[in-house]
């Protein structure tokens, strides 16, 4: 879908800007490196990326693309799992380098390369000879063919080797590789990039000093993933550009997964995409979730069933109930009238979003600088709070207003200016008045300042003025003024204005930050099935297994299997019976006891009054069933054979989890 494409594009744009920032200085450094070679140090960049390993792939792909475009055609990406030994590392490295060479050189001598590839001597010297030949080729080649590419690279482009996950490489491989390449740094301009997930100290831990002294390490810190998340939320959710919105609970689930579990922006995006798919799949009215320009067309193409669907929406029903009776009937019976009304409502919703976002940002400006952050530091927390319920009814909001009333003037002025900027940049038409009002406040503040300075002048020389004024009327007037100003100077004027500002903000909030659930037709654009999402993203294999074995009817959908209380029904599959019996045991389970219990359960219903002869001799079939069930349990990892006691198995799991 188009929205998903947009989404990916945005993510990529985000990443590229982020990369270019980290690589602008990186590139200028490479130029400098050439003169550095004489010290036999290998230039190395240590990229500290944070623990969100799942995102790294994308970053590294971006890095190598950027490098290939701008600096050098020779980039090799190495992963720890491919390189258990130095031999594999060299093979991998050479394979990648030679392959990317083929891409550059078109495919004229592909077959010769193919032949030699089988018996390449994977050593540094062959790499060097290859490099020599390649660079000589590019130098001697006529510029007509690849002017654009060779002019962008230098005469001797460095060979960049990227170690994706530095932590997982074995120490010896890295050491050997570094020692080898430092021997040949003169012939082969090599540049290493280490991807580090934890902290740069790992370099010192992995490499002894004799090796790390061969490196010339510079450190680059990538953006923290939390910041990354906020930018993405900022761009995806807090814009009116995408019609699709997340409900409060869903957003909360996604953010929780992010913060509590993996710190992975990639997974966040995937979750978001899942939400989109789920929404469009489950909500029949999601056709209407589109850009404003398309709404009209789509609304008029609605079928009768879809109109009925609209009428069934709870928010729409609430809306209908508020109308007068004539209109109610019209809405409920006349399709075309309904369509018109729907269109209007959807437009309203759109406008609401625009206003919502900008006012939310204003409020964020105010609350984010308050001490102790009663409404949260990040705008996403504020967003969640606003979506959840009417924000002005919460205690936190009250306390933050209280705090806002105590702000000093400079802060207040800068905040107001920021708000004006935000509102000016937003496209909403209703904000003209708001902006004016804010500007008014600003000018008032400035006036206040001017007045204050004037008053200071006045108060410095009141006596003088008194002496000057001979006129009785004037004297009286100035005295009165003086008195007035003295009373109002410190108490009222500024504070009044401050109260006014805060109240005004409050009124804005009350008007625009209405939670989305109160809006009519919010179901069309908001996705709120948090439970579904949680089920999809937060897999709980052990719990699922437990329910499957404990309540087989949950998955098998067979009413006969439903059992009540702690009883063990004999209709359940064998493995369920065995599982339930094993739950009652201790750490070591006696197989004979277990088998007897099993056979009692199984035979209980079939022959309630089983004769004594068959009870001590267990049926062969039951025995086989039991053995099979037990081995299934072992396969699932609940028990394992123990060597402590004969005929016993050890239990491996405890409790309901």
């Amino acid at each position: 879908q188009q929205i998903q494409e947009n989404l990916n594009k945005q993510l990529l744009g985000n990443l590229v800007s982020f990369l270019s920032r980290s690589h602008s200085d990186f590139q200028e450094k490479t130029t400098e490196w050439t003169c550095r070679m004489k010290f036999r140090e290998i230039p190395t960049a240590a990229l500290v990326l944070g623990v969100n390993v799942t995102d790294h792939d994308l970053i590294f792909r971006g890095v190598s693309d950027v490098l290939q475009d701008n600096i050098t055609p020779y980039v090799a990406l190495l992963e720890a799992k491919d390189c258990p030994g130095i031999k594999n590392l060299m093979q991998k490295l050479m394979g990648q380098l030679m392959n990317c060479d083929i891409d550059v050189d078109s495919e004229e001598d592909e077959d010769s390369v193919r032949v030699s590839q089988n018996r390449i001597r994977c050593s540094m010297s062959s790499l060097i000879s290859w490099y020599d030949s390649v660079t000589k080729n590019t130098d001697s080649e006529t510029p007509s063919k690849k002017r654009n590419s060779s002019s962008r690279h230098w005469q001797s482009p460095p060979v960049v080797v990227i170690f994706k996950d530095m932590e997982s490489f074995t120490t010896k491989v890295l050491q050997d590789f570094i020692v080898i390449s430092s021997q040949h740094i003169h012939e082969l301009p090599l540049v290493l990039i280490f991807g580090i997930a934890t902290s740069p100290m790992i370099i010192h831990r992995l490499l002894p000093h004799s090796v790390s002294s061969l490196l010339c390490i510079e450190l680059f810190q990538s953006l923290s993933c939390k910041e990354h998340l906020s930018t993405i939320i900022d761009k995806l959710l807090l814009t009116s550009r995408f019609p699709f919105k997340l409900g409060e609970k869903v957003l909360q689930v996604l953010i929780n997964i992010f913060l509590y579990h993996d710190f992975s922006v990639q997974n966040f995006i995937k979750g978001f995409q899942l939400c989109i798919v789920e929404h469009f799949y489950s909500q029949p009215l999601s056709v209407l979730c589109c850009h404003l320009a398309d709404i009209k067309k789509r609304v008029y193409s609605l079928s009768h069933d879809q109109c009925e669907n609209i009428r069934r929406l709870p928010s729409f029903r609430r809306y209908v109930e508020k109308q007068e009776s004539g209109k109610q009937i019209e809405l409920l019976t006349n399709d075309s009238f309904l369509k018109e009304e729907t269109e209007k409502l959807l437009e309203d919703l759109h406008v609401y979003h625009e206003n919502y976002v900008s006012i939310l940002r204003c409020l964020h400006v105010f609350t984010s600088s308050l001490p102790k952050y009663p409404l949260g530091k990040q705008i996403r927390e504020l967003h969640c709070a606003c979506l959840e319920n009417q924000v002005w009814k919460t205690e936190e909001y009250e306390s933050s207003l209280q705090l806002a009333r105590m702000l000093n003037k400079t802060d207040l002025v800068t905040m107001l200016q920021q708000c004006v900027e935000i509102l000016m940049s937003s496209s909403g038409k209703e904000f003209d008045r708001t902006v004016e009002k804010m500007k008014e406040f600003l000018t008032q503040f400035q006036n206040l300042e001017a007045e204050a300075s004037q008053e200071r002048d006045v108060s410095v020389s009141p006596q003088k003025e008194l002496q000057k004024k001979t006129d009785l009327y004037h004297l009286q007037k100035t005295l009165l003024e003086l008195k007035e100003s003295r009373r109002s100077k410190k108490l009222t004027k500024f504070e009044m204005l401050r109260f006014e500002v805060v109240d005004y903000i409050d009124s804005l909030v009350r008007r625009y930050l209405v939670p989305a659930e109160d809006r009519t037709l919010h179901e069309i654009v908001y996705f709120n099935a948090a439970a579904v999402l949680r089920g999809h993203l937060n897999a709980a294999p052990r719990t699922a297994l437990h329910t499957a074995l404990n309540n087989p009817h949950w998955y098998l959908k067979n009413q006969a299997l439903r059992c009540d209380g702690g009883g063990i029904s004999n209709k359940a599959p064998d493995i369920c019976i065995v599982y339930k019996l094993h739950l009652e045991c201790g750490r070591l389970i006696n197989l004979v006891d277990w088998l007897e219990a099993f056979s009692t359960v199984v035979t209980a219903a079939e022959e309630p009054n089983a004769d004594a002869a068959s009870s001590d001799q267990v049926d062969d079939v039951i025995h086989a069933r039991f053995i099979r069930a037990v081995s299934e349990l072992e396969l699932l990892g609940f028990i394992k054979p123990s060597k402590q006691k004969t005929d016993h198995v050890a239990r491996l799991t405890w409790g309901g989890c």
């Binding site: 450094k29 400098e32 490196w33 550095r36 010290f39 140090e41 240590a46 623990v51 390993v53 130095i86 031999k87 001597r121 994977c122 050593s123 540094m124 010297s125 996950d165 932590e167 997982s168 050997d176 020692v179 080898i180 021997q183 934890t198 902290s199 740069p200 100290m201 790992i202 370099i203 010192h204 000093h209 790390s212 002294s213 490196l215 010339c216 390490i217 510079e218 450190l219 810190q221 923290s224 993933c225 939390k226 997964i257 992010f258 913060l259 509590y260 579990h261 993996d262 710190f263 937060n538 897999a539 709980a540 294999p541 719990t543 990892g637 394992k640 491996l652 799991t653 405890w654 989890c657």
Partner: protein
């Protein structure tokens, strides 16, 4: 009067050799007497050992090149398999006298092939009149190759029946090499560490042309005074000398002091060198950053070193997992009941009570613990309920890949993996905050 004398080689070459290898005269003369004349058979194998940067490689290289002895020089780290090593020796052998003639790639998989090809090569290169030297640098790597490589190299003269001497260079003593099946004993030779006087002499030798030798020697003197306590590595010292010399010359360039004004120069450079000791020597900041810093004349405070970025951001549950792992690693199992059973959220109490046993347990290092125990502790230290989702389990594995935890005992991964916590107490403190 030259201390090196040998009838077989011209005196001019010897003189040049002596100037190139300062402070190693006795070793060189010893080697020369071992080598004998060009056509004489020498000792089959010589083993040279000594500490890092005591000039083994350098001396061998200059000795062989200045006297123009036929030789092959191979680094065993670089050619990490026996096949690569043998092929490389043959390639160098072919090219060492035949000059520009392009040789076909050789394939040599076993030592048997090597001996055959080696004989051919020697015969074709008309080297039979002279002793051929094969130098194997970093020879300790040979021990990790096939078992027959090292003994074969030691008696290569006998095997090939040619005039060849194998020289092994290593940083460890011969006793660690000796294979248990026994082998030919090489002639061992020790290169002692350079003394401070030697270092002074060697470092002062390559002074930059624009300054006088005395001036540079004074600088080296100061440098050694600061760094000799921590570092005797010649390479490292040379590196540091080159880095900081520009700063030393600054007053002279500005005209504030002349070259003789040693005291003033010392005042100027000393704090600077101290700073360098804390940063560059430990590779906290790279040398290029250091140079830029000197150029700007800024404070190094703005440039944070590698160890400044020790803080690691972890997800919420990962932090708790790591703390739980730490507790499980350093607390004995029997205390678990006392610490975690009775109440919820008693982390503070736990830490307090742990202090009694800390000294002994921390000296012993982390102990392995099973997964179940880790999860049990996790449930008890996290305030709210934790669902045992796949996310939690995947976090454990990602902690393992980050080398914050390590897996112990590879064999039973399915039914009871055991882990070890590998992070330090400081790290845990930082996380627990």
């Amino acid at each position: 009067m030259p201390s090196l004398e040998h009838p077989a080689y011209p005196a001019a070459d010897l003189l040049r050799l002596e100037s190139l290898v300062p402070c190693r005269e006795s070793q060189v003369s010893m080697l020369l007497s071992l080598f004998g004349e060009r056509q004489q058979f020498s000792f089959p194998s010589i083993f040279i050992y000594g500490h890092t940067s005591s000039g083994k490689t350098y001396v061998m290289k200059t000795l062989l090149t200045t006297l123009q002895l036929p030789h092959v020089f191979v680094n065993c780290v670089e050619y990490f398999t026996s096949r690569l090593l043998l092929e490389e020796i043959l390639i160098q052998l072919q090219s060492c006298s035949s000059g520009t003639e392009q040789t076909s790639p050789v394939h040599c998989d076993t030592l048997n092939d090597f001996v055959r090809l080696f004989k051919q090569a020697v015969a074709s290169q008309e080297l039979e009149g002279q002793t051929l030297y094969i130098v194997l640098d970093r020879a300790e790597q040979l021990r990790e190759m096939e078992a027959n490589i090292l003994p074969a190299f030691l008696r290569l003269q006998e095997l090939t029946d040619r005039n060849v001497t194998v020289i092994l260079l290593s940083e460890i003593v011969w006793e660690l090499f000796r294979p248990n099946i026994g082998c030919f004993e090489p002639f061992t030779m020790y290169f002692p560490d350079y003394s401070i006087g030697h270092l002074q002499k060697i470092l002062s030798q390559n002074h930059p042309p624009e300054y006088s030798a005395d001036f540079y020697a004074a600088y080296i003197n100061i440098l050694l005074g600061v760094f000799y306590m921590v570092c005797r590595d010649l390479k490292e010292l040379r590196h540091l000398a080159a880095l900081n010399f520009a700063k030393y010359c600054e007053p002279v360039v500005r005209g504030e002091a002349n070259e003789r004004d040693t005291r003033k120069l010392w005042k100027n450079i000393e704090p600077h060198l101290k700073k360098a000791m804390q940063t560059v020597y430990l590779r906290e900041i790279s040398s290029s950053q250091w140079e830029r810093l000197q150029h700007d004349g800024g404070e190094p405070g703005q440039l944070k070193g590698l160890s400044a970025h020790t803080h690691v951001e972890l997800p919420y549950y990962s932090k708790f997992l790591l703390i739980a792992a730490y507790l499980a690693s350093y607390n004995p199992v029997r205390t678990d009941k006392r610490f975690f059973l009775k109440h919820h959220g008693k982390i503070r109490k736990t830490n307090f009570m742990k202090k009694h046993e800390k000294t002994s347990n921390h000296l012993l290092g982390p102990k392995p613990f099973p997964l179940d125990r880790l999860l049990a502790i996790l449930y008890s230290i996290v305030d709210n309920r934790v669902a045992p989702t796949a996310n939690i389990f995947s976090q454990i594995t990602s902690l393992v890949t980050l080398q914050l935890l390590s897996m112990v005992g590879q064999n039973d991964q399915l039914d009871g993996p055991r882990y070890k916590c590998t992070v330090s107490l400081d790290f845990i403190r930082a996380i627990a905050r």
